[in-house]
Amino acid sequence: MQEQISRAEIAGGAAPSGALVHEDTTAKWFLVSSVAYFFIVGIVAVVIAAKFVWPELMSTIPAMGYGRLRPLHVNGMLFGWLLAADMALTYYLIPRLCGVRLWSETLGKATAILWNAIILGAVVSLLMGWNQGLEYAELPLPLDVAVVVAWIMYGFNLFMTISQRRYPAMYVSIWYVMGTILWTAFVYLTGNFAVLFTTGVNQANLNWMYVHNAVGLIFTPVGLALAYYFIPKASNTPLYSHKLSMIGFWSLAFVYVWTGAHHMLHGPISQWLQTIAIAFSVMLLIPVWAAVYNFFATMKGQWHQLRDNVPLKFLMSGVVFYLLTCFQGPMHSLRAVNAIVSKTDWIPGHAHMAVLGAFSFFAIAGAYYMVPRVWGKQLYSDSLANWSYWMWMIGGIGFFVTLWLGGFWQGWQWNNPAIPFIDTVVALEPVWLVRFFSGILMFAGILFFSYNILATVLGEKPKPTAA
């Protein structure tokens, strides 16, 4: 695959003198640190999966307890790996889509340093148990403030770049990045600051609005921005429909934010609010299908490229996982289904398919695409990249499917009060064992990926010459 892309790259790289040269330092810094956190937090992930099977594992050390490592896993993967990788890739693609340099590399580098300081602060505070007690918003207040500052620096830099663009018409990825920047600002403020002024159900409602939209209005739009950019790029095919991408964008902007209360179906929250959340959750199928149809239609006649184009493999598998996860979401929101799957192990199966299967796959594809280009080197090993794909694919499917089956079964058992709770725990032991081994495979994916990126960055394998 690299052969093909390299040739295209050479064609682009051999631009006439005076052509725009991107510095890309900010993108490089963000990407390298995100890959490092992916690896470190991947170890944490395997440890907590092991704790389900061997609960005594490291259980005498408070900082290594499940309750401290789980938020480290969630926050580390979401903000240390995925969001940082997404930021790296948007620092790469926005200047290119706008035909100008990044507005300020200095500001970008400062953002990268601040972001790393936040993640290190998060590691320390979560291991110490300095936990605010709100899901996805565990970090103590000073770090929340630092996140807001970093986000303003990031958003300002990209908005200034966009405002100076050379092409007036904006490609859909630019919209999604702008949407991400703006929505994230308000979603984050709600989930980390507004909650401090509320209690009880009111606070839970704000918390779920944040938790849901952390995925729906942060990782979804930026993930789609990547997919809309990298699918046409990696396959060398124009996007099927601009209009359809608009429909997807505006329906996403309107529909997503209404659905937070579906996290409390059957719970102590007003029934009418639950019903609103259900109705809008079902409507989510509109933006999802608009995006997925567009990607599939773009690939029409191009599917043969999947045979040896690794970034495209990640991208299109990510699209399929995105479709599946976004089909599950509305289905879980139906009261009858929710009564079975809610609070079970089905839910981590669903969440991992969204965050790893869909959005991380987009970011991984972007990294495989971007790294050789910004460092001006050939990817260290195409074969290793292919192996990382299969490790994630097999491990991921093993993980998702066993948790769905196990979770569904668990939910059925819970709904039969004649079965003592502990029996429903013992019944899931094999599920957690398979999950652990699937996790090992997924970690192998991380290992191959991060080694490949590292070896490319540090290695001396230059771009093949055009000749």
């Binding site: 605010q132 018409a169 630019i174 507004a194 009880g200 409602n205 209005l217 309107f254 934010v257 819970w414």
Partner: protein, 189 residues
């Protein structure tokens, strides 16, 4: 109008924020104004209207225990909500008495809320008063001594620190006690 967003970043930004704020405000700011039970602490003296009782704020020791519960991440595996599902009311029940479902007015003083999203261990919304101090001491030291097959990690440091142990047990004994749905001091033998 949406067409304008094709070439104008300002338009795109404004429209995407307007669309976002419609749903954002209607689902976060408006609901507590419409449904006042979210902010009114539970109080009922009339048995005809359901379980009687009164929600009181936690005292200092109990609040300290709650902080430990948060610090150790208990809430990642234990929910605190008896949902409107028959099985939930049976599982939260005690000795043949079904538990009442959780209502918003029972959680008015909760900050942060601890409803939880994952039930790896049993729900704790009505656990108060079910197990005595000695039970919790043994259970924290090694859950499998009391519940074979449990996958809860041991928390020996909670038992070793007498003050912390006292606080967390004091907190857990308050859970679900605002509604007087069964006799007090009914610890498992």
């Amino acid at each position: 109008m949406l067409r304008k967003a094709d070439t104008s970043a300002t338009w795109a930004a404004i429209i995407s924020l307007v669309l976002f704020f419609i749903g954002g405000i209607l689902t976060t700011v408006v609901p507590p104004l419409v449904d006042t039970t979210w902010a009114k602490p539970f109080e009922n003296a009339d048995p005809a209207k359901g379980p009687t009782g009164k929600l009181t704020p936690l005292n200092e020791l109990q609040l300290q225990g709650r902080q430990i519960y948060i610090r150790e991440g208990c809430w990642y595996c234990h929910t605190q909500q008896t949902r409107t599902l028959l099985a939930d009311t049976k599982r939260s029940g005690w000795k043949g008495v079904d538990s009442p479902v959780s209502t918003p007015d029972e959680f008015v003083y909760d900050d942060p809320h601890l409803f939880g999203t994952k039930r790896t261990g049993p729900d704790l919304s009505r656990v108060g008063g079910k197990y005595d101090e000695q039970w919790h001491r043994t259970h924290f030291r090694n859950p499998r001594d009391l519940v074979p097959g449990s996958i809860m990690p041991p928390y020996p440091w909670l038992v070793e620190d007498a003050a912390e142990f006292k606080a967390i047990v004091a907190y857990m004994q308050t859970l679900g006690r605002a509604k007087d749905w069964r006799p007090d001091n009914d610890y498992e033998e």
